[in-house]
């Protein structure tokens, strides 16, 4: 209970730090919104034959929610924790009575709150500007998918810090990991017609599975609760692997 209060204390100051950093706010929060606006404005009214002739605007909302969640958790945590590590902020915290798990919980809390906010804003804008249906019967699927996806990509972001050598390398390495995967996972345009081998490559990684799970959860025509067990299992497996790496190899002192 005491630790929970301490984690909340840490979270409050992490929130201040997050929202006061213009670069972080732009790349994490503003960019997914800008992407939604651009893609839906250009392609929104086209129909997607491979998916029962739905409008592309309906396709883009869950896709960009996927990007928003990954950006708020995986990208944000990998970059900020590396910076804190290399600037000896983590080392300093390690010298205080704060338990490691409490400090990390504060960081994850910020990632989760930002991710949640992005989901709400992206879905809301999709509804208001482009008339995309809100999930109804599939709400359990939306929530379960976001929880599993958010947790897994937090773990993977913390795991990624273990191979990032310097502060300057953090944004480069993190974006080099996610950007190509966004493209081949159908975030920016549908890949249903892409060559089989490319889809096979994409299938190895978790992003396409989170996107597909969210697509079903957001699909107005879906039967049942909108839970994609297979896709979610793969996302969760990646998350668990990330957790093992993070717990085993996370460093509190600079690698320099």
């Amino acid at each position: 209970m005491n630790d929970l209060r301490l984690a909340f204390h840490q979270f409050r100051y992490d929130q201040k730090t997050f929202w006061r950093d213009p670069a972080t706010v732009f790349f994490t929060v503003a960019l997914p919104l800008i992407f939604l606006f651009i893609f839906v404005t250009i392609f929104g009214n086209e129909r997607l034959e491979s998916r029962g002739n739905i409008k592309l605007s309906t396709y883009y909302v869950p896709g960009l929610v996927t990007l928003g969640v990954i950006s708020a958790t995986f990208v944000s945590l990998a970059i900020s924790l590396t910076q804190l590590r290399e600037n000896e902020v983590l080392k300093r915290v390690r010298g205080t009575p704060v338990p490691s798990r409490v400090f990390i919980a504060g960081q994850i809390g910020t990632a989760v709150v930002v991710a949640f906010l992005l989901v709400v804003v992206l879905t809301g804008l999709g509804r208001i500007l482009y008339g995309v249906d809100l999930p109804g019967a599939t709400l359990p699927g939306v929530i379960l998918t976001l929880v599993i996806g958010g947790a897994s990509f937090c773990a993977l972001g913390i795991a990624l810090t273990t191979i990032i050598p310097t502060e300057n390398a953090a944004p480069a390495i993190t974006n080099a990991v996610v950007l190509p995967l966004y493209f081949i996972s159908g975030i920016f345009f549908p890949i249903d017609e892409a060559p089989g081998w490319l889809r096979t490559v994409a299938d190895v990684f978790p992003i396409v599975h989170l996107a597909e799970a969210l697509f079903t959860a957001f699909d107005p025509a879906a039967d049942g609760p909108g839970i994609e067990v297979g896709h979610l299992a793969i996302v969760a497996a990646w998350g668990l692997a990330g957790l093992v790496v993070a717990v085993r190899f996370f460093r509190w002192t600079p690698r320099r």
Partner: protein
Amino acid sequence: MRAGEIFAFLGPNGAGKTTTVEILEGYRDRDAGEVSVLGVDPAAPTRAWRERIGIVLQSGKLRPHLTVRESVELFAGYYPAPRPVDETIELVGLTEQRDSRTERLSGGQQRRLDVALALIGDPELLFLDEPTTGFDPSARRNAWSLIAGLRQLGKTVFLTTHYMDEAQELADRVAIIAAGQIVAEGAPSELGGRGAAPCEIRFRLPEGAQADDLPLQVAVTDGRALLRTHDPIPALNALTSWALAQGVDLPGLEVERPSLEDVYLDLTEARP
């Protein structure tokens, strides 16, 4: 170390100061031997032990985008019985900057905020790793008065430094480390046998006087007299009484002990 003292760990760069202090702080594992800090082995640091120590690292940035006050508040929340936030900010002289973001502080101000963050938990023992390296002279003076003030708060301070004057100014006791070995330990005035070393009294022989005229046995070369003694007061008394009685001067009279610098260079340079 004793409670309530300022203990300086003095040595050249690369001598092992930071390695030692990081073992004491619980950051680094030791290869061998036993270590006890406040009765706890720092290799197995407990939360209760961390509440009793404060650490100022040698380098490292502050959390960006937070103000001085917010940074101190954040750390205050880590401890069960923190010191008052504003009072601690005032203690390190940052009251005027308390609403400034940490990234706008000067180097000296950032180090003072470091000290505030280490003090906020009201620790018994404070580690300061080279607190004034890279400071200009006036910033060093300010830092020194801040550190000397910690003694009034009843804190025990473990300080590492490669400045002899810093150790001399601040420390109750000094240990000199060279190439990983402690080569001398004691009060700054006694260090390296300084207290036991003979005093040197020098002067020029007065005009017309011979060495044999003097009341004491003195070595004279080229009219320059040199007297080494463990009892400078009677020797000086004898010499000056003689000079007064004779109505002569003792030109260029000097009394000298080996300086801390001599001792330090002697001890650290003789090592491989």
